[in-house]
Symmetry: C2
Subunit: 358 residues, 2 copies
């Protein structure tokens, strides 16, 4: 375990991306998106995935020279082909286009095909905030989730993020997988040898269980809600909406055909689209009402919820608060990287001939 | 209990709305929206609410002569003031405006303040389907839901609907409250004297319980996910997103200040906005890709999910299928109205001097 300054980590990742073929600008952008996960405490989506991206590149499944292309547009919409590029670099281009369209006609919506993992959805949604816009980002992902009553895995964890500006208060930032638990949480339990709480996973016959390794044995994650009695069909509907907007509207793959992140997992057969898909939105606040008035009411909303009468010893949390606190702390003190990932980074540094910070 | 043809019921409601002051066109529209709930099996939102609307009118809280007004707009957005009208009549006007804007610039988004209950969200979202558009509808509602760790009720059941066209297959229609269970389901259990499943409600101290009457004793509905361990914070975030888009973006009330539906419940103090709020969206499919190609892939999605390997004795359900089957059946055979509601309708018929169908 080592505590490494954020800027050193970001510099390392950017240099690696350059050696892998990315332009300096794209490399910086990709590193910033990747590291935003570590900063915000979503440790499963940051440095922990770095080697995964490298393996995809080595297999030729992603192209770091790719520049996304607009293939269709209207005043408030666009569809982009990510050209097999790295989602970390493509998503910000698409989000900037959504913001530009919102400047021109109130809202902007961009569907992206032929992309790959884009890091945390929250980074992209939050790009809208400095423009006094509400930002929306979502993506589909390879199938790990069983719809209600299904034994098969047909949906990814398909996250949604929405970032909403406030006035004196910090913004409202929701960013969540549409499942009861993320795969990252299962991995933590695997390492510590613990069982999962009930309602997180099922086995290959569709029976609920608590084995954190069950995904390797044909099991599945459960949609938000856990089971039919507690409305898992709502989590299934939500994950499906993300899949259709990200995958079908864009011309990407969807459902069980979304390509896997781990390079050792074989690609699905008969894929109907290109790569994985994302969907982005930006809505100008003053396309609906004065930004100042909106922000005043948002402050009122946030303060009312934050000071709500809470269960003894607990507090009502405003979405985005814990991640922002974590980011403040980690920008100041650095990010803990455990020995497993330090060894991987050292190996990648050797392989791609870049300096390692020791 | 009596089985009444759909057209008779609709005619009855329309005549009642006319006697209450609505124009014939608005009365027809309002009756169609209200009855769509009974047709689709959402019995808590149809005839069961009729008397509630009448009481609100009698208290002067809604105005059946109101015509909604556009107070702000851009090419892809508008904000409407519902002028204290009936949500059943205002929402279709707002949705038609969203569709018109989508025709012109790809997508259309309309936030509505100063409205009241709009029936089922699905009716409004489905208005987009004949235009080859994706339809979105949501609304906030008076606070019955406790955010994660809160003892207070700060959010409504805040439903979301998304309707997505397919080709040869019927459309995908999701329509769901952002809670584990709806208030309507609690009412059914109250009548039959049963306890709720775990994870639906909590008591006034914030402890989970199974008493279906607990809302009358200071308890609360739980957000989708049920508890923190099963990610109720995600249901809380989702309900908050609906509240902010519907309530704050439009200039309506939000959070604990949304006016209650039952006329005997006192209005909240210090209300920051006007009435309750809705949010509607319409996205033209061919603003992203050829509608024909999209529909081909939607058919493929629907067939793959419908034929998924299911748990023994169960099947994977496509969102919208059960409600469409119910609607087909009830349009043909009529709608069962129980004696309680028959008596209410007879009383309203006397009071408003309209014929009752007996």
């Amino acid at each position: 375990m080592k505590l490494i300054p954020y800027s050193d980590l970001k510099d390392f990742v950017a240099r690696l991306f350059i050696q892998m073929g990315a332009s300096p600008i794209n490399a910086q952008q990709g590193a910033e998106v990747l590291l935003s996960a570590d900063l915000r405490g979503v440790d499963s989506h940051g440095i922990a995935r770095l080697e995964g991206y490298v393996r995809l590149k080595e297999l030729g499944r992603i192209d770091l020279l790719a520049e996304p292309e607009i293939v269709h547009e209207t005043p408030s919409t666009a569809t982009m082909d990510g050209k097999s590029g790295l989602g970390l670099m493509i998503a910000p281009v698409a989000m900037r286009l959504a913001i530009k369209k919102a400047e021109q006609c109130g809202t902007g919506w961009v569907a992206v095909s032929n992309s790959s993992h884009f890091g945390i959805a929250g980074y992209h949604a939050m790009m809208a905030l400095p423009h006094d816009m509400i930002g929306i980002a979502m993506t589909n992902a390879s199938a790990l989730v069983a719809p209600t009553f299904s034994r098969e895995r047909l949906l990814g964890t398909n996250p949604i993020s929405m970032a909403i500006p406030a006035g004196e208060e910090p913004p409202f930032v929701a960013d969540f997988a549409t499942t009861t638990a993320s795969n990252g949480k299962l991995e933590l339990l695997q390492r510590s040898g613990q069982q999962t709480p009930s309602g997180w996973v099922q086995d290959e016959t569709g029976i609920a269980c608590t084995d954190p390794d069950i995904l390797k044995k044909g099991g599945a994650l459960l949609p938000l809600g856990s089971d039919k009695e507690r409305s898992s069909h709502k989590g299934y509907m939500l994950g499906s909406m993300v899949d259709i907007l990200s995958g079908i509207l864009s011309g990407a793959n969807y459902g069980p055909w979304v390509p896997p992140f781990p390079a050792y997992v074989p690609m699905p057969q008969n894929m109907p689209g290109k790569g994985i898909g994302h969907f982005f939105g930006a809505m100008r606040i003053d396309a609906f009402r004065k930004a100042q008035d909106f922000k005043y009411e948002m402050d009122n909303w946030i303060r009312r919820f934050r000071t709500a009468d809470a269960i003894s010893g607990k507090e009502v949390v405003i979405p985005g608060d814990p991640e922002r606190e974590m980011e403040k702390e980690r920008r100041m003190r650095g990010i803990h990287i455990d020995n497993q990932f330090l060894a991987i980074m050292r190996r990648l540094a050797d392989q791609y001939q870049i300096n390692f910070f020791e």
